[in-house]
Subunit: 151 residues, 2 copies
DNA sequence: TATTGTTATACTCTATAACTATA
DNA sequence: TATAGTTATAGAGTATAACAATA
């Protein structure tokens, strides 16, 4: 268990990280805002899935996910085929165009990071990724386990 | 220099960190949205300053900063006294009420983090803070040094 | 003429709630 | 009746550009 001062410092750093995210977002193509990019990244990473699962992985509400998905579907980057076992759902899958785009996005993100983090060792980058993943998991676990009592 | 795959992983983690920030934001009092809280945190951390300097430290545009500042000033958490040497500027300073609030905010942030990161050692927390600070600095340096060529 | 701030406008992201269709 | 997804609405954050006052 860390001291309060350490938590306050971490809170400050988390708040400030928005600037980095905004810088990164600037490398995205015009038609592909960060929310749309996130959808493509998750589909590329985890394969085809329904919207509910996507929302879970993105840790945002399904209503928001639905809009991002509509955006990328309208542009032909994913297709939505009927789910065989549940006609309420559709299966989301990257199209060839989507796969091309996600490759381009990965390149741009990587180039931007490599450019700014010139002095970072492979281990530095790995360590930061790993700590962020762990933090996210520790928050997510709690979200899942907390019994929500409706007002 | 790290490999491309490591940068892609970092990009994913950065994208996903929004969920943690939103969870943290939920502990804030109703009248104090995250942008307002950030203003108070910086003033508490760095002492009185003008808006321009505040915008720099927050790494957001001055126009945005101006609105956050108006919000906290309207609620009596800061005062704006005339800058003695430049009548275009005012000096922003926490009021006693603002100082009370920032103490409350720090407590809430710390409690939330301590609650979720129960298993983290002091060193884990310190290391994550330090890596985030370094990343922010490496991005910020570039922003400052890049010559912006207007289109 | 250049700089400090403010305001108007527009865009993106997000959540809540109401609604449709299917289980 | 419960669940998957969509849509409408509203709130928060941000940037750009036009504008005011002062340097």
């Amino acid at each position: 268990m860390a001291e309060q001062g350490q938590y306050e410092e971490l809170a400050r750093q988390l708040s400030a990280i928005g600037a980095v995210k905004r810088d990164l977002a600037r490398v995205l193509p015009h038609e592909c805002p960060p929310g749309a990019a996130a959808v493509l990244v998750v589909l590329d990473r985890h394969g085809e899935m329904r919207i509910g699962r996507l929302a879970e992985l993105l840790a945002i509400d399904m209503s928001v996910t639905s809009r991002h998905v509509a955006h990328v579907a309208e542009r032909g980057w994913i297709d939505r085929s009927p789910a065989p076992e549940d006609r309420r759902s559709r299966i989301l899958r990257l199209t060839p165009a989507g796969r091309e785009l996600i490759t381009e996005l990965s390149d741009r993100y990587s180039r931007a990071l490599a450019d700014h983090l010139r002095d970072w060792s492979d281990d530095d980058v790995r360590q930061l990724s790993s700590l962020l993943a762990r933090m996210r998991a520790d928050f997510g676990d709690c979200r899942a386990s907390t019994t929500r009592i409706p007002a």
